[in-house]
Amino acid sequence: MSTVLEVRDLTKRFGGIHAVDGVSFEVNEGEILGIIGPNGSGKSTLFNCILGQLRPTSGEVKLDGRAVTGMRPCDLNRLGVSRTFQLLQVFPELTVRENLILAAQEHKGTMLTRLFGARDAGLSGDADRMIEFFRLAHVAQNKAGALSYGQQKLLDAAMAFMAGPRLVLLDEPAGGVNLTMLANLRERLEAINREEGATFVVIEHNMEFVMQLCSRILVLAEGRIIAQGDPATVRSNPQVIEAYLGH
């Protein structure tokens, strides 16, 4: 099993505050790694540093053994690293199908082929498969802004998978999603992991969701990793309980 993502001594300071403080971990191919931690523990900052949205103060990020620290998000995405955001981020004025085509159109060809080539960049088939897979067929022609919250959340996830990524970082995929939709989402993520061998890193507050989805969990508090292991081990770790419940 090869290492897809390697994070070495990653630190991000905002003034005097260490939002992320010397975090190191690895993610193996095909793994679903969960990252949990109380609010303000540095989870999202960690994601943003890995993904080039923020420049880390120090430390290194490697993708398949290649240094990608500080690379622009769009270049990183084209190397196969995809993400979702904590808040919904679809394009409301584009239809569901166009949202999906957009999510992969920059991955092949050049600016010229994108201007003079096929209107759908040859992605209609892929988009339809993704629409089918995420059960969005009945709203495929609707503008994304007209969808229900749960449907938008599914679309949001589908967009992250559209270009067949090697590694997907999901920031609170279960936030604000009702129970039925949540089971639907988890099942879809597991299916992609199984069938496509995609590797996931998931930030999540919903313990139930994380414990069921992830094979390994990192616990972050005040910018540091305070515990890691399989769900059962992490759940019974006294340090973790203290970080969540306080003294």
């Binding site: 769009c74 995405n77 993400r83 955001f85 394009f91 004025e93 957009l102 159109q105 994108r114």
Partner: protein, 353 residues
Amino acid sequence: MSARHLFGAVALALIIAALLAAPFGLKPYGIYILTLWAVTTIAAIGLNLTLGYAGQVSLAQGAFVGIGAYVAALLTTKGWPLGAAYLIAGVSCFGIGWLLGYPALRVQHHYLAFVTLAFSTLVYLIFRNEEWLTGGIYGISNVPRPSLFGYALSRPRDFYYFCLANLALVSLAAWWLIRSPWGRAFVALRENPLRALSLGVDTRRYTLMAFALGAGLGGISGVLYAPLVQYIDPTPFALLLSLNLLLMVVVGGSGYFFGPFVGAIVAVLLPEWLQGVDNAYWLFGPYADTARSVLPPTALKYVAKHYLVAYAIFVMVLLVFSPGGIIGFFERRFAKTRTVVPQAAPAEAKAVS
């Protein structure tokens, strides 16, 4: 859907037929105004790409029209063909637009508006003060009308068709562009640049491209403007033109393909029409007398005298009631007629209880 498409196709065909037939029913001044509409629409289409689709505020579109006009005037008065001016103005405005896009990578919205406003002022000052090049406030006169394949386009009607053909070409190119992945990327850039970036969209390149393309079309508009008016000086390219173009895009419907066409009607044709509104009873045909009794000539004379006030009130009322402009207003109406049926029942139930 297909009924709507058919309706659209028929309406478009009628409008094109009307545009082709129009010069036969108009005096030279009418043809001049209609030509001005076609030329202005090209610049507005450019700004609609930059602002309407890609979401980048620009108060510099008028400056690019000016650059295009000066390039055309300088070159054609020295005997160059208009085709050369076309190419040089298009390419140089594209390049300058690209450079003007760099601030947009750092600042957005009203800050960006101020950066482009500064550029606009700078260009105006160059037009006015660099007399050795631009003739300063005296401008450049005797700008010749072009000829096409040896056929001189000096008569108003011929030049009108030339500009209309240019507008058609620009419209087709813009239509092609916004239907391509580029158009999708522009909309993504407008709606959520952060998410677009995370999906592999090189937002830097598309932002610069949006500015460059918009500026290039501004330049082409200017290249046609110079031989239309045949005399240029700095005044028409002051900030007011940029604001006017912005108004056209917003009033027509920012981010709608037909927005700039309608916006330019409002900005170019409507004031002219309002100015002559006191003679407009002929529009009512056989009911002209009825119209005269309902709308007394004194009232219309008042409107015609204060046509700019009437025009301003119209624009303000429109934007208050339809921020999406005129096209946005009609699109909302269409959307309403489609969804009002299933919503009618609960509304009735509510009224009863």
